[in-house]
C-alpha cells in the first residue's frame, strides 16, 4: 500500500526503503527483550476482539460523534468520538446513555396495551397495535375536524398532536409530515427542536 510522502524513520522492520534514507536504517534490528516467553504467556490468555465504528448521536440536532465498539453485532461500548469536530469526544447525558438503546433489560421489546379503563397491560401483536392506532387517529380526527373558522376554510384538527422522535430519519420525518398535514394536523412538533 502507498501513503503520502513522508520521512519515516525506521531503525528496524521490514518496510520498503525510503529513497532519502540509507537502507541500513531500514533493516531488521534486534529487540531488547526475548519475546518467546511473552508469546507463550499470551497464547494462554483469553482474548476478545472488538470492531470500532463511528456514528452520530440520534437524539438531537447537534449531531455529536460517537464511537461504537461491537462484536458479532453486539454493542460492547459507546463513547464520544474525539475526532468529531462538533463534540470532540464530549457527550451529554443522553448521548452517554445511547448504549442503552442496544443494551438495557428495561427496554420494551413487545407491544403492551392497556384497554380504556383497565389497570393491567396486555401483550399484543404489532398488527393489532397499528390497526388500533389508525382507528383512534381516524375517529378523533373525524370527531374534532374543523372545516371553517372565522368565516375561512381551515380544514384542520386540533385534537391530535404529533411529536416526532430523534430516532426517525429524514426520510421518515418527511413522509410523516406529509401524512400529518394531509390529515389536517397543525400541532406538529419534533423532539429535536425541543
Amino acid at each position: 500500500m502507498k501513503v503520502t510522502r513522508r520521512k519515516f524513520l525506521k531503525l528496524s522492520g521490514s518496510a520498503v526503503a525510503v529513497a532519502a534514507v540509507s537502507s541500513s536504517a531500514i533493516a531488521a534490528g534486534e529487540s531488547l527483550f526475548n519475546l518467546d516467553p511473552a508469546r507463550k504467556y499470551a497464547a494462554k490468555l483469553k482474548t476478545r476482539y472488538a470492531h470500532e465504528s463511528t456514528t452520530i448521536c440520534p437524539y438531537c440536532g447537534v449531531g455529536c460523534g460517537i464511537i461504537v465498539s461491537t462484536y458479532s453485532g453486539k454493542v460492547l461500548n459507546t463513547e464520544g468520538n474525539p475526532d468529531h469536530p462538533i463534540n470532540e469526544g464530549a457527550l451529554c447525558s443522553k448521548g452517554n446513555a445511547v448504549y442503552q438503546i442496544a443494551n438495557n433489560h428495561r427496554r420494551m421489546d413487545k407491544v403492551l396495551y392497556r384497554a380504556p379503563g383497565a389497570s393491567a397491560w396486555e401483550e399484543k401483536s404489532w398488527d393489532f397495535a397499528i390497526k388500533r392506532i389508525a382507528e383512534n387517529i381516524k375517529s378523533v380526527r373525524d370527531k374534532h375536524f374543523i372545516t371553517d373558522s372565522d368565516g375561512k376554510k381551515v380544514n384542520r384538527v386540533e385534537a391530535v398532536a404529533s411529536l416526532g422522535g430523534a430516532a426517525l430519519d429524514n426520510e421518515e420525518c418527511y413522509l410523516w409530515r406529509k401524512i400529518a398535514t394531509t390529515l389536517g394536523l397543525v400541532f406538529i412538533e419534533h423532539q429535536a427542536r425541543i
Partner: protein
C-alpha cells in the same frame, strides 16, 4: 496522572516487575541500560540542542516533515563516544564475553572504522557503514549493531524531545513522531473525551493523533480498525489495523486506578505480553508500508 520524564521512579518501578513473560536477565539489562542512558541524558539536558525555539514554517509540518533531520544532526563527538561505549558494553556484557568485546571495540575505534558520531547518524539513516564487516569484527550480529545504534542515540533524542515540548505542535496530523519521525510504541486514551496520545518509540515524545485512523498506513476505513482486549484487563487493549496488519498497544487511562500514576516507559515494558498476543494474532509493530 501521566508522568513522562521520571527516570528515578521508573527505575524503581522496573525493579518491581516480576512476571513470567519477561526473562529476569533481559529486565536486568534493560534497567541497567536505562540507568546508563539517564546518566548520558542528564549530561546534555541543559545544553542547546539547535532546535528552533519557535515552530518552523507551517508548511514544514504540512509536508509531514518532523522537526529533526538526522542527516543534519550535530552530535557532540565526545558525548557520542561515551554513549557508544557505555551502551555497547551494557547491551553486550551479558550476551558476549565482555572483555573480549571491549578489546574488539577498542581495536575498531582505533582503526577509525567506527567514528561514534557517524555511527549514531548512520543508525538514524544518515551516512553508510559496512555493518557486515563491523559485525564480524565485533563478534555480534548485524541486528545487534542496529540495536546498539538506536540505544546509543536515544538519550540525545530524549534531549531533543524535551526541548521540542516547548513548541506548539497541534497542527501535526501524522502517525509518526513530529520530533524524530519514529513510529509510536504506545497509545494512551486520555481525558473524558478519550483523546489518543501516541508515545514515540525512540524519543518518547507524546502527541495527539486521531482515534479512528491507523498511525502506520493512515487508513480511515473503519471496517479495517478494531482492537483486542482481555476480559479482566480493563485499561489495556491492542489496537489493530487489518489494512496493514499493524498493531499498537493502548492504555485507556479512563479505566486506570485514579490514584496511580502512569509511567509510559514502564508500561512499554510491563505490557510485553500484549506484543506477544498481537504477534500470535498475526500483527506486527513494523507493518510493511510503501512510502511515495
Amino acid at each position: 496522572m501521566i508522568i513522562d520524564d521520571a527516570f528515578d521512579v521508573e527505575l524503581e518501578r522496573l525493579s518491581d516487575i516480576d512476571v513470567a513473560y519477561i526473562e529476569p536477565d533481559d529486565l536486568k539489562r534493560y534497567r541497567r541500560l536505562l540507568e546508563v542512558q539517564t546518566g548520558l541524558f542528564r549530561q546534555i539536558a541543559d545544553l542547546p540542542s539547535g532546535l528552533q525555539p519557535v515552530l518552523p514554517e507551517k508548511e514544514h509540518f504540512e509536508k509531514g516533515n518532523p522537526l529533526v533531520d538526522p542527516e543534519k544532526l550535530a552530535i557532540d563527538p565526545d558525548w557520542a563516544k561515551q554513549s557508544v561505549s557505555e551502551t555497547g558494553l551494557t547491551l553486550f556484557q551479558m550476551m558476549t564475553d565482555s572483555e573480549d568485546f571491549k578489546t574488539r571495540c577498542l581495536k575498531v575505534f582505533a582503526a577509525g572504522r567506527m567514528e561514534p558520531a557517524s555511527f549514531l547518524r548512520w543508525s538514524l539513516g544518515g551516512g553508510r557503514i559496512d555493518e557486515t564487516v563491523l559485525a564480524s569484527e565485533l563478534g555480534i550480529t548485524r541486528e545487534q549493531i542496529r540495536l546498539w545504534g538506536r540505544e546509543a542515540v536515544r538519550p540525545w533524542y530524549w534531549k531533543l524531545a524535551h526541548d521540542a515540548s516547548k513548541i506548539d505542535m497541534k497542527d501535526w496530523e501524522k502517525g509518526y513522531c513530529p520530533v524524530c519521525g519514529y513510529k509510536p510504541e504506545l497509545a494512551l486514551l486520555v481525558g473524558d473525551e478519550g483523546f489518543r496520545h501516541l508515545v514515540c518509540g525512540l524519543c518518547h515524545h507524546r502527541w495527539i493523533f486521531r482515534r479512528m485512523q491507523c498511525p502506520y498506513c493512515e487508513t480511515i476505513d473503519e471496517t479495517k480498525l478494531g482492537y483486542f482486549y482481555l476480559e479482566d484487563n480493563d485499561p489495556y487493549r491492542v489496537s489493530v489495523c487489518n489494512n496493514c496488519k499493524g498493531y499498537l498497544k493502548t492504555i485507556d487511562t479512563r479505566k486506570w486506578p485514579p490514584l496511580e500514576d502512569i509511567y509510559p516507559r514502564v508500561q512499554m515494558v510491563k505490557t510485553i505480553y500484549l506484543d506477544g498476543m498481537a504477534e500470535n494474532e498475526g500483527y506486527t509493530s513494523y507493518p510493511n508500508i510503501e512510502m511515495t
